[in-house]
């Protein structure tokens, strides 16, 4: 079956339609679309950061502007790849429900679509701090909710287990990245 068009799917993902997440869970070809969604969100965040830094007349050095945009781009990609791996490990073991039957790729597909509301991050570049801050908050809230639905549908368990899985996976990922940044490991 040919994958359905991306934009309507992103809209359905943003509307937290459980059916959409079930659909992409069962469709291995949707992994490419999930990757595109993550990259679009990453680009929106980076573009928003660039626009904000360039548009607000600050004297931030160009290297700092580029670095901040780079971090903004990489964060969703890292969260998607590594956070989903932790969510799979935690959700398929500790939080596993009686119906849970999944694999990492399924979770990657559903979680990727959960990044769809992150396109709002382009608005963080609007030269109004109120719009900018509001867009960041709204995008975060929305993606958080979509992420819980994505985990729930991929791992076929309850919302409470999905919230637990999401929280533990986030914590593990944070500890990993924080540890790598803090430990005396030569790079």
């Amino acid at each position: 079956m040919a994958p359905r068009s991306l934009l309507p799917r992103m809209w359905r993902a943003a509307r937290l339609e459980a059916d959409l997440y079930e659909e992409v869970e069962a469709e291995p070809e949707a992994l490419r679309q999930a990757l595109v969604v993550v990259l679009l969100t990453a680009s929106a965040g980076a573009a928003g950061s660039l626009l904000a830094d360039l548009g607000w007349g600050t004297e931030t050095p160009a290297a700092d502007i580029a670095f901040r945009a780079g971090v903004r781009f990489l964060t969703p990609v890292v969260i998607w790849l590594a956070g989903t791996a932790f969510a799979y490990m935690v959700g398929a073991t500790f939080f596993r429900g009686p119906e849970t039957e999944s694999d990492y790729a399924e979770l990657l597909r559903t979680a990727g679509f959960a990044f769809a509301p992150g396109l709002l991050r382009i608005l963080t570049g609007v030269p109004s701090i109120w719009v900018s801050f509001g867009a960041e908050v709204a995008a975060n809230v929305w993606m958080l909710l979509a992420g819980v639905v994505a985990v729930r549908q991929a791992l076929d368990f309850t919302t409470a287990r999905a919230i637990g899985t999401f929280g533990v996976a986030y914590l593990l990922l944070f500890l990993l990245v924080w540890g790598l940044a803090a430990l005396p490991i030569p790079f």
Binding site: R72, I79, F133, F166
Partner: protein, 195 residues
């Protein structure tokens, strides 16, 4: 999938309503509206509220307000009053023929207090969400007043009071959660100075 900044509580945090002890942030009243949910604040900080409305702030009263922001019992009232004071002082400053340096200093101090209150509470804490709500309320309602800011190189430059406040919170967001940890990791890998 995203940084759980606790910001989602911002959308859920109900403004305090009616009389009684506020359970959350009390928004700045709209023009012409009675500040009904500020009544408990008026009972506790009557003198200070009156001073704010007259455009005068006594140092001792202000220090009491600042201390109350860390107090478990009165912190929502203190936050609501601080936002109202920010709004009232900004309005007075915006209509005055010359800017009073004392007002700018007071707003800079308020910015620092709000930033500290935000940083002191972890993501997901209802009080942190209330601080975010207060900051958005201030940004929407308070007229801009020129204060001193520091840019990324640490140099002083003029900016508006609300711009300074929201930039402070934005920078804090950049330094926390997975994004902040990733920034530190990348900075280390690239041999950059951490910010």
């Amino acid at each position: 999938m995203v940084l759980p900044t606790g910001a989602f509580l911002l959308l859920l945090a109900a403004p305090c309503a009616g009389a009684g002890v506020p359970k959350g942030y009390c928004p700045i009243p709209e023009p012409g509206e009675p500040p009904s949910c500020l009544e408990p604040v008026r009972e506790r900080y009557g003198d200070l509220l009156g001073e704010i409305e007259r455009g005068e702030v006594d140092e001792d009263e202000a220090a009491r307000l600042e201390a109350a922001l860390s107090d478990e019992d009165g912190r929502y009232e203190a936050l609501s009053l601080l936002a109202y004071a920010y709004y009232a002082l900004s309005r007075r400053a915006a209509t005055a023929p010359h800017q009073d340096p004392a007002v700018a200093r007071r707003l800079e101090r308020f910015n620092a207090l709000l930033r500290a209150a935000y940083q002191r509470h972890p993501p997901g804490d209802p009080f942190r969400a209330s601080v975010e709500q207060a900051v958005q309320d201030i940004a929407r309602r308070a007229p801009p007043v020129v204060v001193r800011c520091r840019d990324a190189r640490g140099r002083e430059r003029p900016c508006t009071s609300t711009e300074a406040l929201l930039h402070g919170l934005r920078d804090f967001q950049e330094r926390t959660g997975i994004r902040g940890a990733l920034a530190r990791l990348l900075a280390r890998m690239l041999g950059r100075e951490p910010r």
